[in-house]
């Protein structure tokens, strides 16, 4: 019995992941219909449920990859990894209305700039309140508030200490998790119901995983518009955080 299971786990990892995700989606559809009469989107429940399972997986195994560290769920790493995620995001562009995307042009660029500088400044300010005084740590922690990739890239470029880099990653991951879970609930209040606001949302929130997850849980049709701007966010963050913004922080402290 254990031999067969062991063989399945190693040889059929991706196939087992399809089964696992299918089961999560099915449970989410039942919950959405039964408990909320369809008011909360099944995708939102599925993403939330997956995050809870990821937390559970971390508690059970002490690993860093959530549910994927639990035996039999390793295939989630491939199915939910950056390669297939980006492939599927590009596929959603097939239905993009080019006219709608053009309308958001300038506003999208402004959103991208604000989406980098504002979280960075907040992150630096809060790190200062928690007693950090050197420009390298402050910049790294501020960069982590932009996205969880910008944080460690900036920290590595500036030579920040390992605990500071870990904290900057944790901040970025928490931000992504928060965007995924909170977006469907605040969408109504911030006017997130059209392609133009989805592009602003993508530029301001930045984190591709947060934006794609949050929009998927809100309204699938908005995903490609948000992804279109969000995809530039990490690159811009990695460009300005260790350079321009670091110099600004150093001048201030």
């Amino acid at each position: 019995m254990t031999d067969i299971w062991g063989k399945l786990v190693t040889d059929q990892a991706l196939i087992l992941a399809f089964v696992a995700v299918g089961a999560i989606m099915y449970a989410a559809v039942l919950l959405s219909r039964g408990l909320t009469r369809g008011r909360i989107h099944a995708s939102a429940i599925a993403i939330l449920g997956a995050l809870v399972l990821a937390w559970l997986g971390g508690e059970l195994t002490g690993g860093k990859k959530g549910l994927a560290d639990v035996s039999g769920f390793g295939g989630l790493l491939l199915l939910g990894g950056a390669m297939l995620r980006d492939f599927a995001i590009v596929a959603t562009a097939f239905e993009v209305d080019v006219g709608e995307a053009r309308k958001a042009g300038w506003a999208g660029a402004i959103a991208l700039a604000l989406g980098t500088v504002v979280p960075f400044a907040l992150g630096v300010g809060i790190a200062w309140c928690f007693g950090y005084r050197d420009a390298v740590s402050l910049t790294t922690l501020g960069a982590g508030t932009v996205t969880y990739i910008v944080g460690p890239v900036t920290g590595a470029a500036l030579g920040a200490s390992s605990p500071v880099i870990a904290l900057s990653i944790a901040t970025g991951v928490f931000k992504a998790v928060l965007v995924m879970t909170a977006t469907p609930f605040v969408a109504r209040f911030i006017g997130l119901n059209n392609p133009r606001s989805a592009m602003l949302f993508g530029g301001l929130m930045g984190t591709v995983s947060g934006v794609s997850g949050g929009l998927a849980a809100t309204d699938e049709r908005l995903v490609p518009y948000g992804a279109l701007t969000a995809t530039f966010h990490t690159g811009i963050g990695c460009l300005v955080c260790p350079s321009l913004l670091f110099l600004a922080v150093r001048a201030l402290v």
Partner: protein, 120 residues
């Protein structure tokens, strides 16, 4: 044939990501600059080109759209592998910085959305 659609999607993705990497190298950044966005623009251009020539067959569409339909399950798989435990155990600074940044950006979405509505 659906495989032509999937192959087209793959070609656009690879070219876009390669362009994003090249842009990163040119700008001296250790990251991909807009690779996915560039890939999306390439796919849109390819769709337009095929549609003009009447080559946008249902089979080809299926090969692309299947992957668009798999998008949500892929995001669920992505969510299931996040290091949620670390994100929650990072202490008050992590929760405060992340929470404040997200709340402020939500407010900015509403603000920018209203400010730019008149320019449509």
């Amino acid at each position: 044939m659906p495989i032509f659609g999937t192959a087209l999607l793959a070609l656009c993705t690879v070219l876009g990501v390669a362009l994003g990497e090249a842009l990163g190298v040119a700008l001296h950044v250790k990251a991909n600059v807009g690779g996915v966005g560039l890939a999306m623009l390439l796919l849109l251009a390819a769709r337009h080109w095929l549609a003009q020539r009447g080559r946008l067959t249902p089979g080809l569409r299926l090969g692309v759209e299947f992957w668009a339909f798999l998008y949500i399950p892929i995001v669920v798989a992505m969510a299931a592998q996040q290091n949620v435990r670390a994100a929650l155990s990072g202490g008050p600074m992590v929760l405060l910085a992340g929470g404040l940044a997200v709340a402020t950006c939500f407010a900015l979405v509403a603000l920018l959305g209203r400010m730019t509505r008149g320019h449509d």
